[in-house]
């Protein structure tokens, strides 16, 4: 799935162009670069030819289903594992590759583990101070500052098990920040928290990283978390990177149907293309002129290849239709099969009368307008969207 794929669509979409903005471009001043990294455990490959970079002061999220190799990638960056091939750079310094291996403790990389790894036998203060060289005069000040930064004043003498989940989270963050790492890694750090607390702590961490201007790499399997935290998102599947983009681009222009479905609810409507218009069973839908797929080349929004500018006429495609881009009216086109009321909106599953195809429709509003069994009509009300060549087409 690269932009060099002849069937892929490329062109000059304005949204794609914004990702060419030099302030967002990653290749100029990367804080962290991973180049051609592969890793196997015994005979089992876990990562294949991974290349990407993280701009200074940015937050990048590695998103993928469990078992895709994202945690191993994080551990390679930290130096806890050694890659079989490839290089890892922190700024201008080569950390791993070509016979070089900088030891974990010299990498200036911090990490917050999934289980937080707070030392159970130490107080909050000692945990936070652990990364400092003992005996320095300013140590106390630095630790107190860090504890204040994460709003834990007064809890310095508690042990980790006497803290709430959110407080433990903040201790782990403060501890990782104190030695002033250049890059800080997060391995699904919010996984152990329940939903409401997770959202709260996530916002705090997000804000703090933003304020401090720390370069961060998060690992998660949660699409929502990736979008909230990540300025850039690297989607991984089966040991490889399948897309590297900003969240909004990822959502509108996924590199493949799999990515499209992984990052949100989606309908795939079969259609035929004329120019940039797709004719579907619910009417015509405008298509984006390009697909801004960037995969393994490590930079955002690679749309250099602009010659192949449009779809083959009359080709069969599947159009990506997000449920919130459909609207329901009274009509005879389809029948409501399922109503899922969420409070702020309602998700309907409707079955088209023509071809019996099921579609998801998300309607905002505080009460459902249609009941189960109601007859409805559909209309596409969203912006131009993406299409994928139909299987075998």
């Amino acid at each position: 799935m690269t932009s060099h794929d002849p069937t892929a669509m490329t062109s000059h979409d304005p949204t794609a162009m914004t990702s060419h903005d030099p302030t967002v471009m990653t290749s100029h001043d990367p804080m962290l670069s991973v180049v051609g990294v592969s890793k196997s455990f015994g005979s089992v490959p876990v990562l294949e030819d991974i290349t990407f970079s993280v701009p200074r002061a940015a937050t990048l999220v590695l998103l993928g289903p469990s078992g895709c190799g994202k945690t191993t990638l994080l551990r390679l960056i930290a130096g806890l594992e050694r890659p079989d091939k490839g290089e890892i750079w922190r700024g201008e310094e080569l950390l791993t590759g070509g016979g070089t291996y900088i030891d974990v403790r010299h990498r200036r990389i911090g990490m917050v583990f999934q289980d937080l790894a707070l030392f159970p036998h130490m107080s909050v203060f000692k945990n936070v101070a652990y990364g400092l060289r003992p005996g320095h005069r300013r140590n106390r000040e630095i630790v107190e500052e860090a504890i204040a930064l994460v709003n834990l004043e007064g809890l310095e003498h508690r042990r980790p098990h006497q803290l709430s989940g959110g407080q433990q989270q903040r201790v782990a963050l403060a501890r990782a920040l104190v030695p002033r790492p250049e890059v800080i890694l997060f391995d699904e750090p919010f996984a152990s928290l329940d939903t409401s607390l997770r959202i709260e702590v996530r916002s705090e961490v997000h804000e703090l990283l933003h304020t401090l201007g720390t370069t961060a790499v998060f690992v998660t399997h949660d699409q929502e978390e990736a979008f909230v935290i990540g300025e850039e998102v690297v989607v991984m599947k089966d040991r490889q990177i399948v897309q590297h983009d900003r969240p909004s681009v990822l959502y509108r222009q996924p590199a493949s149907p799999w990515v499209g479905l992984f990052v949100g609810h989606a309908n795939m409507l079969p259609a035929t293309v004329q120019g940039t218009t797709a004719s579907t069973c619910i009417g015509d839908i405008e298509l984006l002129e390009s697909s801004t797929v960037s995969t393994t080349n490590g930079t955002l929004g690679n749309v250099e290849d602009s010659s192949d500018s449009s779809y083959n006429s009359n080709s069969s495609v599947n159009v990506l239709v997000r449920p919130e881009h459909l609207q329901l009216f009274d009509g005879k086109e389809a029948k409501v099969e399922l109503v899922e009321y969420h409070g702020h909106d309602t998700m309907y599953a409707v079955k088209l009368t023509d071809n019996q195809k099921m579609l998801k429709v998300l309607v905002p509003g505080s009460s459902p307008q249609f009941d189960h069994g109601a007859e409805v009509a559909l209309a596409y009300v969203g912006p131009p969207t993406t299409a994928f060549p139909a299987e075998g087409g």
């Binding site: 930290a78 974990v104 403790r105 583990f113 937080l116 030392f119 652990y130 098990h161 030695p179």
Partner: protein, 541 residues
């Protein structure tokens, strides 16, 4: 039917069982408390007074404490270091060393002492090895240093095994965090690994301490005057002194057990065990080969050394067949019978101990009964009581009661063994009972299975792995036991340990060596199945 709903389901129909279990447990606890109680009562009876008897105890008491502390500390240091090396570093051949490291547990301490004496004796392996270098005579190593060396060498696995298990379940993220925060491997060890292993180390050291204070064979052979030695030597000529010293020893053991429990309950801030992969290997770099030399040296001295010494004497004995006395006296004729006796008495004890403990385990684990918990604690103290004290109490008690005909009978021997080692079965049995899921029991109940049928068809098969492990531990301990066997074995019923002891007292090293090799081989097989394989499940060996 509201009444039926109100009543607690566990009581329905099981009152009889509950009552039966309770009665049995209380009876068991009474039996376990008897020896200690008897000693106290006897001490009043013989009007043991401080000035007469306790004052003579100062020397032996000091020696006992000093020896036990030195052995515990040395074993804790070596075992923790060894466990860490084998669990965390890239030491060459660590899989092989991991398998061998716990095996010195197969040596009873008195066999270890015999190996030391036989090795350094005239005509022993050490002299033979050193003679090419012009060293004609080697010093006799005994007293404190001999006892200290022997007990450390053969008890360190009591610390090694729990520490190794702890390291296997210590979340790897702790050590990795410490490394990411800039610490070197040794700093990580002292600031994270050690504090997180303290509970395992102290539990293991407690076992070493208890083993040392109650050890009789090694200190007697190496002539280091501890309480056990004075109890044994005074038991016939001066009962009052013997009893006073026995009481003192029992109190010492109990105080240490209570203190350790208090201490370990204070330091509760340990990470819960993790099933995740253990931390990655620490690269030793230029320390690789020196470290391996140290590990090989230790295992060599603790395992290969004693075997080589014994083997050497046996070979010399075979080469000089026909001597009736002396170090080279060797007879293969009477080796089968004591081996059979050792195994059979061990198996009987194991069966009796597990069968006796199972009702109590059911009471505490299934019914969560308070009475059960009290009884269980009393039973566990039986483990803390030194074997010699138990043997002493039983022999005095039986000799002064109408049951005198039971003195030195098999039932009494089994009873004393069970009392001493029952605690081992008790703990394992409790775990075994807990492995039977309660819903499963309820399901079979609703399916209409009768109680007895349910026990044999559902509970017993599920518990059997745990119960077998418990029985195995008791069997292993019984085979290696010396003081109880020495005092209470029926005349003519010789076990391997009795034979080894007798041969050693006659300085018949070839004979003692042969019998020791048989005993060690038997117990090594058991040690392997019971302990080493279990650790392999816990971690990456």
């Amino acid at each position: 039917m509201p009444q039926a709903i109100k009543s607690r389901p566990r009581v329905v129909g099981s009152r009889m069982v509950y009552g039966g279990l309770s009665v049995w447990s209380v009876a068991l606890a009474v039996v376990f408390v008897t020896p200690f109680g008897y000693l106290i009562w006897r001490s009043f009876d013989l009007s043991v007074t401080w000035s007469d008897n306790f004052s003579q105890a100062w020397g032996p008491l000091r020696n006992t404490i000093f020896l036990a502390l030195s052995v515990s500390v040395a074993a804790a240091v070596v075992a923790t270091w060894l466990a860490w090396m084998l669990a965390r570093t890239d030491l060459p051949g660590r899989r092989v060393w991991s398998v061998l490291a716990p095996l010195p547990l197969a040596f009873p301490s008195f066999v270890g002492a015999i190996a030391l004496l036989a090795g350094f004796a005239k005509g022993g392996l050490i002299e033979e090895l050193l003679s090419p270098f012009g060293i004609a005579s080697v010093p006799r190593i005994d007293g404190f240093w001999g006892a200290w060396a022997v007990l450390t060498l053969f008890t360190y696995p009591y610390v090694y095994l729990p520490v190794r298990a702890r390291l296997a379940t210590l979340p790897h993220s702790l050590e990795e965090s410490a490394r990411l925060l800039g610490r070197r491997p040794f700093s990580v060890f002292f600031s994270v690994v050690l504090p997180q292993s303290v509970t395992a180390i102290s539990a293991g050291s407690l076992l070493v301490f208890l083993y040392t204070v109650s050890d009789f064979g090694a200190v007697a052979l190496l002539r280091y005057n501890t309480l056990t030695r004075s109890i044994f030597s005074n038991r016939l000529i001066d009962q009052a002194t013997s009893i006073a010293h026995g009481l003192l020893l029992a109190v010492l053991a109990l105080v240490v057990v209570v203190a350790e429990r208090r201490l370990s309950s204070l330091g509760s801030s340990t990470a819960p065990p993790s099933r995740l992969r253990p931390a990655r290997t620490v690269l030793l770099g230029r320390w690789r080969w020196p470290a391996m030399a140290a590990v090989v040296g230790w295992i060599g001295v603790a395992l290969i050394g004693p075997l080589a010494v014994m083997g050497f004497w046996v070979v010399r004995g075979i080469a000089n067949r026909g001597r009736i006395t002396g170090p080279l006296a060797l007879s293969f004729d009477n080796i089968l019978e004591p081996a059979r006796n050792t195994l059979s008495i061990g198996l009987i004890t194991a069966l009796v101990a597990v069968a006796a403990m199972l009702p109590l385990a059911r009471l505490t684990a299934r019914y969560r009964s308070k009475l059960g918990a009290i009884c269980s604690n009393l039973v566990v103290t039986g483990f803390a009581l030194p074997g010699l004290v138990i043997a002493l109490a039983f022999s005095f008690w039986v000799l002064h009661s109408p049951l005198v005909s039971f003195y030195q009978s098999l039932p009494l021997l089994v009873l004393a063994y069970s009392l001493h080692f029952g605690a081992q079965a008790a703990r394992v049995s409790e775990t075994a009972v807990e492995t039977v899921p309660r819903p499963l029991e309820e399901v079979s109940h609703t399916l209409g299975a009768k109680r007895v049928r349910r026990f044999f068809r559902v509970d017993l098969p599920l518990m059997s792995p745990g119960l077998l492990a418990g029985a195995g531990l008791v069997l292993l301990s019984t085979m290696k036991e010396l003081p109880i066997t020495l005092l209470l074995h029926p005349i003519g019923f010789d076990t391997l340990s009795i034979r080894i002891w007798t041969a050693a007292e006659e300085l018949a090293f070839a004979q003692a060596g042969l019998e020791s090799l048989v005993l060690v081989a038997l117990s090594a097989v058991l040690t392997w199945f019971l302990l080493v394989r279990r650790v392999r499940f816990w971690g990456d060996v």
